[in-house]
C-alpha cells in the first residue's frame, strides 16, 4: 500500500463519514421539525409556569417585588437552554439503547461511533439554544417587560451555548447510564435537584445566610449558566464574575462530554 493509496483511502473515508454525519443530523432536524409543537411544550411549559407563578402571581399578590421578575427571567432562560439540551438527548438515548434499538441503523453507518455521539451532542446543544431564544420573548410577554442589554449579547450567547452544551453532556451521560426500567426514578432524582440548585430562582452571591446551600449550588454547573446569563442581562444584580462562569462551564462541558462519549461507546460496542 503506497502513501498515496493511504491518503486517498483516508480522504474517501473522511468524505463518507462527513456525508453520514450530515445525513444523521438531517434526520434529527426532520424528526424535530415534524414534532415541533412537542419541542415547544417540552421546552416552554415548566419554565413558563415557574415564571408565571413566582414572578406574576406572587408579585400581584404582593409576596414578591416587581423586580423579582427581571431576576428570574434570566434564570429561566438559562434553565430552558440547559434542561432542553439535557432532555433532548437523555430521554431518546435511554429508549434507543435500552429498548427500541432505533439507534443501531445509525451506529452501522460508515462513520466512527464517536461521531454519532458528537451529532447527538451538537443537535441537543442547538435545541437548547433554540429553546432559550423561544422562551425569552414568551417570558417577556408573561411579565409585561424584560431586561435587554444589547451590548452584552455576545456574553449572553456564549454562556447560553456553553450551558446548553453542558446540559447535552449531562444528558448523554445519563442517557447511557440509565436503563428504561429506571427512567422515572432517575430523572426525578436527578432533574428536580438540578433545577432547584442551579441559581435559577435566586442570585448565588446572596446566599450568605445559607452557607450549606450556597456550597451545594456552587457544585451545580447550571449555577454558572444562570449567573452568566444574569451578568449579561441584568448586570446590576450581584452575580458571579462572567469569566469564572465561562471557565467553569467550559470545564464542565468538556468533562461531561468525555464521560458521555465513554458511556456512549460502552453502550454502542459490547
Amino acid at each position: 500500500m503506497t502513501a498515496l493509496d493511504t491518503t486517498v483511502r483516508r480522504s474517501a473515508r473522511a468524505a463518507s463519514a462527513r456525508r453520514a454525519f450530515n445525513a444523521i443530523l438531517w434526520r434529527d432536524v426532520l424528526v424535530t421539525g415534524k414534532e415541533f409543537w412537542i419541542l415547544l411544550l417540552q421546552v416552554a411549559l415548566t419554565p413558563l409556569f415557574m415564571l408565571f407563578i413566582f414572578a406574576k402571581v406572587l408579585s400581584q399578590a404582593n409576596y414578591v417585588s416587581d423586580e423579582y421578575g427581571h431576576l428570574l427571567l434570566p434564570g429561566i432562560v438559562a434553565l430552558s437552554a440547559f434542561l432542553t439540551a439535557l432532555q433532548s438527548v437523555a430521554f431518546p438515548l435511554v429508549m434507543e439503547f435500552g429498548w427500541t434499538k432505533e439507534i443501531e441503523d445509525r451506529l452501522l453507518a460508515p462513520l466512527p461511533t464517536n461521531l454519532v455521539a458528537v451529532e447527538k451532542l451538537l443537535f441537543a446543544t442547538v435545541r437548547g439554544l433554540i429553546s432559550a431564544i423561544i422562551i425569552y420573548p414568551i417570558g417577556a410577554l408573561v411579565l409585561g417587560s424584560a431586561p435587554w442589554e444589547p451590548a452584552r449579547l455576545p456574553l449572553l450567547l456564549v454562556v447560553l451555548l456553553l450551558g446548553a452544551w453542558v446540559g447535552a453532556g449531562i444528558g448523554i451521560t445519563m442517557g447511557t447510564l440509565v436503563t428504561p426500567a429506571r427512567i422515572g426514578i432517575m430523572f426525578a432524582a436527578i432533574l428536580t435537584p438540578l433545577m432547584f440548585t442551579g441559581s435559577v430562582q435566586y442570585p448565588w452571591p446572596e446566599l450568605d445566610t445559607l452557607p450549606w446551600f450556597k456550597f451545594i449550588t456552587a457544585l451545580n454547573p447550571l449555577t454558572y449558566c444562570s449567573e452568566g446569563v444574569r451578568a449579561a442581562m441584568v448586570p446590576d444584580v450581584p452575580h458571579i464574575a462572567p469569566w469564572i462562569c465561562v471557565l467553569v462551564l467550559i470545564i464542565s462541558a468538556v468533562a461531561f462530554t468525555v464521560t458521555g462519549m465513554a458511556g456512549f461507546r460502552r453502550r454502542a460496542l459490547s
Binding site: A23, W26, L30, E102, L108, L111, S270
Partner: protein
C-alpha cells in the same frame, strides 16, 4: 489490511468473553464464507451465533482472534467494513420517528447514496417487498412480517456485499417465511454473500450452501447440509416390504441382506397395518417423523421376533452408507432369491438429527 484473501467473510480463532461471565460466548471459532455463498450458522439459543454476527458487523469487540468482511478487518477498519455489509437483526430496530419510506431513504443517505438514486431504489424495493401501499404510514402500525420485510429492504438500500440475517424468519407466518426465503435466494443470484443464523433446520437445509453448527461458542461441524446428514452413518434406514419366494426362509433372506456392503444390521419389523408413516417433513427432503427414543429420528422398531401374519415380510436395514446407493445391491439380492418387493422407503437422517446428535437434547 486484507485478511482472508478472497473470502467474503473470514473468522479466525475468534474469542469473545463478556465481562463477569464465567465462560466465553464465542470460544475459538474459525470459518470462511466464499463470495456469493449462503452460509448458515446453526446452533441452540445462546450458542454464540448472535455474538459472532455482532463481531462481524462491528458492534461487538472481539476478545481475541480476527474477523474480516469483504476483505476488511472489522477491528482495524470498522467504518470501511460497515460500508460493505448490512444487518437484518432478530428484533425490529426500525426508526419509529420516520415513515417506512424514510427508513429506507435515510439508511441510504447514511451510506452516501445520492438523493435521486436513493429515492428511486427505495420506491423499487418497496414495490418488490409489497410495501408500497403502506410506505408512508407509521412504522408502529407494521406487523412483525412487514417490519421484517422492511428491514431486509433497508439492508439492501446501499447494495452491501455481505448481508447478515440474524434469525430472519423467527416468529413469521409461513407466507412471510417463504417470501423471505425467496428474497434470500434472489440475493444469491445477484452475487450477494449471505450469512444467516438460525435454529430452524428447514431454513438451514433449504437455503444454505454450507452450514456451520455451533454450540458453546465452538464450531462442531461445517459442511453442506447434504454432507452433514450423510455423515450421520448408521442413522439411515431402508424399509422394505417383500414377498419371499415360497422356498425361502425369512431368516435366511435377512441374513443374506446383512451381507450387503453398507448394511450394518437387518431385522424383521412387526407387521402393522402399514409401515410407520414416513410423511415428508416440512422441508420436503427429510423423510423422518418425529423423534423417538433410541436412535434419533427413527420410529422405534418393535420386537423382531413378533408374530408375522400374512405372507409379506417387513424388513428394516440399518445402513452405514447412503441409502440411495444401496438400493441396487439390496434389490439384486432380493431378485436373486426370487423375492418380490412391494414397497421401499428410505429414511434419511435430517439436519435436525445431525443437530441433536451434535448438541444434545438438553433444554437451553
Amino acid at each position: 489490511m486484507t485478511v482472508g484473501g478472497a473470502s467474503a467473510v473470514s473468522v479466525r480463532d475468534l474469542v469473545k468473553r463478556y465481562p463477569k461471565r464465567p465462560v466465553n460466548a464465542v470460544d475459538g471459532l474459525t470459518f470462511e464464507v466464499s463470495p456469493g455463498e449462503i452460509f448458515g450458522l446453526l446452533g441452540p439459543n445462546g450458542a454464540g451465533k448472535t455474538t459472532t454476527v455482532g463481531v462481524l458487523t462491528t458492534m461487538v469487540r472481539a476478545t481475541s482472534g480476527s474477523a474480516s468482511v469483504a476483505g476488511i478487518d472489522v477491528a482495524a477498519d470498522p467504518v470501511g467494513a460497515r460500508a460493505r455489509l448490512a444487518v437484518v437483526p432478530q428484533r425490529s430496530n426500525l426508526d419509529r420517528s420516520l415513515t417506512p419510506r424514510q427508513n429506507l431513504v435515510f439508511h441510504a443517505a447514511y451510506h452516501g447514496v445520492g438523493r435521486a438514486e436513493r429515492n428511486a431504489i427505495a420506491a423499487l424495493l418497496l414495490e418488490q417487498f409489497g410495501l408500497t401501499a403502506q410506505a408512508d404510514i407509521k412504522v408502529d402500525w407494521y406487523s412483525g412480517g412487514m417490519a421484517q420485510r422492511l428491514m431486509i429492504a433497508r439492508a439492501l438500500m446501499h447494495e452491501p456485499e455481505v448481508l447478515f440475517l440474524d434469525e430472519p424468519t423467527t416468529g413469521l407466518d409461513p407466507q412471510a417465511r417463504l417470501f423471505v426465503w425467496d428474497r434470500i435466494r434472489e440475493l444469491r443470484e445477484r452475487g450477494v454473500t449471505v450469512v444467516l443464523t438460525t435454529h430452524d433446520m428447514d431454513e438451514a437445509a433449504d437455503l444454505a450452501d454450507r452450514v456451520g453448527i455451533v454450540d458453546h461458542g465452538r464450531l462442531l461441524a461445517l459442511d453442506t447440509p447434504e454432507a452433514l446428514t450423510r455423515g450421520l452413518t448408521g442413522q439411515s434406514v431402508l424399509d422394505l416390504v417383500v414377498l419371499p419366494s415360497e422356498l425361502d426362509q425369512p431368516n435366511a433372506l435377512i441374513a443374506a441382506l446383512e451381507k450387503v456392503d453398507g448394511v450394518e444390521r437387518a431385522e424383521q419389523v412387526a407387521t402393522g397395518p402399514e409401515l410407520p408413516a414416513m410423511a415428508a417433513g416440512p422441508g420436503g427432503s427429510a423423510g423422518l417423523p418425529a423423534m423417538a427414543p433410541g436412535a434419533p429420528g427413527f420410529p422405534a422398531s418393535s420386537s423382531s421376533n413378533g408374530d408375522v401374519t400374512g405372507p409379506d415380510l417387513r424388513i428394516r436395514l440399518y445402513l452405514s452408507a447412503d441409502p440411495a446407493s444401496l438400493l441396487g445391491p439390496v434389490v439384486a439380492v432380493l431378485t436373486e432369491r426370487a423375492a418380490s418387493v412391494s414397497d421401499v422407503h428410505i429414511g434419511r437422517a435430517s439436519l435436525e438429527d445431525v443437530f441433536i446428535d451434535l448438541t444434545g437434547r438438553a433444554l437451553r
